[in-house]
Symmetry: C2
Subunit: 325 residues, 2 copies
């Protein structure tokens, strides 16, 4: 972990942050606030909407039992927040800013400029945007070097993943500081080296979602069938092994290499509306090398882990579904 | 459940099946055999490969602890199987046939014709194919009316989903019988009314997989990042709520309608290489109506269920990953 970075872009150690500003208090913004509170921080919420304060209170209270179950930091309290309608007031004295305003580009551009103007030098400002690039959002800010994307998943207080990426004008130090900070507070961080529309997880789930919409549009499957095809199928494997490791195991003892040899031709099949890339030797070797780099355990060990996970996941899900009945 | 169906296509009640033939004993075929054994059936395995018998023995033994944990039927034994190299011998007296040979169309066509010729009238024959249509596979069979696709997911002894669909010459009675039988033995069945390449779950996971291959091909993400973006992100939600219900909740209290209004424009964004369908009024209303039909509970109840599931899944996965260390 990098503790000291560039003076201008990202000042101070991640461990020294005490107070965080949450700009925008919808589902995502208030979810972030709840998470930061559970980690023992003081939170200053900015939201100009009438009735924002009781709504934030309600969202934090709704999240707190879950956060308590996962374990609170010492001194964490659901009451350690204030709600503001003035941005300068909200960011006063904070060590980090998380912006979670509605997904409207111009609104984000103006808001990030306002936040930047009001926030002390060297404090990193992250945006929860689910799709805009920081290059596009930072156009009106005076100090774009400290603006980064810190993209969470709903609900941000339960899903560990945060995708961190900068824009063209973002300094590497600010990106590194944000990645370090999220990791420090227990997040699973993917630091991207370049801007890709939709980042990584959204591109993947968006491909799936678009295929699902096509199927509904064409009367090929119902909403219920689409959901159950995932919950009772591949969805049971994905919490333990992502799509790459899953297909590594589909190759049996031969792993990904065998899988690509055996099922590679199916990339030409009309199994989805998305055309696959040409399975060149380079791509094949890159995928195999990537699996080898990501996973040193044997196929047998992975199968044992997968089976244990599927059983455990099925058992807890069955229990939760049973409560529904 | 339909117990009595057409005399010629699907004779007998699903509850009367005692013995099942598993044709082909690779990962999928032997996985099916293990599942059928755990449900108390006698299994007759056909596999012409040298050394098939000890391999089947080994695969069943590897699956048995998991099956024991999930609960065995009365009288279930991992020893209630025989291995044959003659098809007529393997299908003698069975009440159901599950074919799981390698994914080579001509091989499947010939094998299904041979199975059909050797199997008693009225016994339904299912293929585990992950991608061929039964219309294409049944071309050489004398009685294509009893040939259905029964597509499982790896490992078939742990993943509940089975997609059931017929070919052009398959009788509705045989499709219904297969769906009833799989349900009877505890599977989560999706009965499709028409042939769609890749069925449902494979189309969805294949869209995701192809997008992932493109990202690797273009240096946009590593194998490790792709996997973790799912395991630590959307993958934690998918065992409880499929992609449609997940996005229903992304709309907050407004549900899917609000989600499509708010995020609908992002379908035009280059967030994946798959073009989305036009979000017409008809499609929008079909998606909303589909969610309403699939899910009568309130958004609040679904959020409570989702949060409980994510916590429970995270806890069991953390425990399993902890064992690794």
């Amino acid at each position: 972990m990098t503790d000291f970075t560039s003076e201008t872009d990202a000042r101070g150690r991640v461990a020294d942050v005490r107070t965080i500003a949450c700009i925008g208090a919808g589902t995502i913004g208030a979810g972030w606030a709840a998470y930061f509170l559970a980690k023992g921080y003081y939170v200053r919420v900015w939201d100009p909407a009438p009735g924002a304060a009781p709504k934030v209170r309600q969202l934090i209270d709704a999240a707190w039992p879950a956060l308590t179950q996962l374990g609170l930091a010492e001194g964490a309290s659901p009451d350690n927040f204030t709600v503001h309608t003035d941005i300068a007031e909200a960011v006063a004295g904070v060590g980090f800013v998380q912006e979670s305003a509605p997904e409207v580009l111009e609104l984000k551009q103006n808001l990030l400029a306002d936040i930047d103007a009001a926030t002390a030098d060297g404090v990193v400002i992250a945006s929860s945007t689910s799709g805009y690039s920081m290059t596009d959002m930072a156009t009106r800010a005076t100090t774009p070097s400290r603006l980064v994307v810190g993209h969470p998943f709903n609900p941000p207080y339960l899903i560990p993943l945060v995708e961190v990426v900068g824009g063209e004008a973002t300094s590497a130090a600010a990106v590194q500081w944000a990645a370090d900070f999220y990791e420090y507070i227990g997040k699973s961080v993917i630091k991207m080296d370049r801007e890709v529309p939709g980042f990584i997880a959204n591109r993947l789930q968006e491909a799936l979602w678009r295929e699902a919409l096509h199927m509904i549009d064409n009367g090929e499957a119902t909403v219920e069938q689409i959901d159950r095809s995932i919950t009772d199928g591949p969805g049971l494997r994905w919490p333990i092994h992502g799509p790459m490791t899953t297909f590594h195991l589909a190759g049996g003892q031969g792993g990904m290499r065998h899988m690509l040899e055996h099922f590679g031709p199916s990339l030409k099949s009309p199994w989805t509306r998305l055309e696959a890339p040409e399975l060149t030797d380079e791509l094949r070797e890159a995928v195999i090398a990537g699996v080898d780099a990501a996973e040193e355990r044997s196929v047998n060990d992975l199968i044992i882990e997968r089976d244990a996970a599927i059983i455990a996941v099925r058992n807890v899900i069955d229990e939760i579904k049973g409560r529904r009945a």
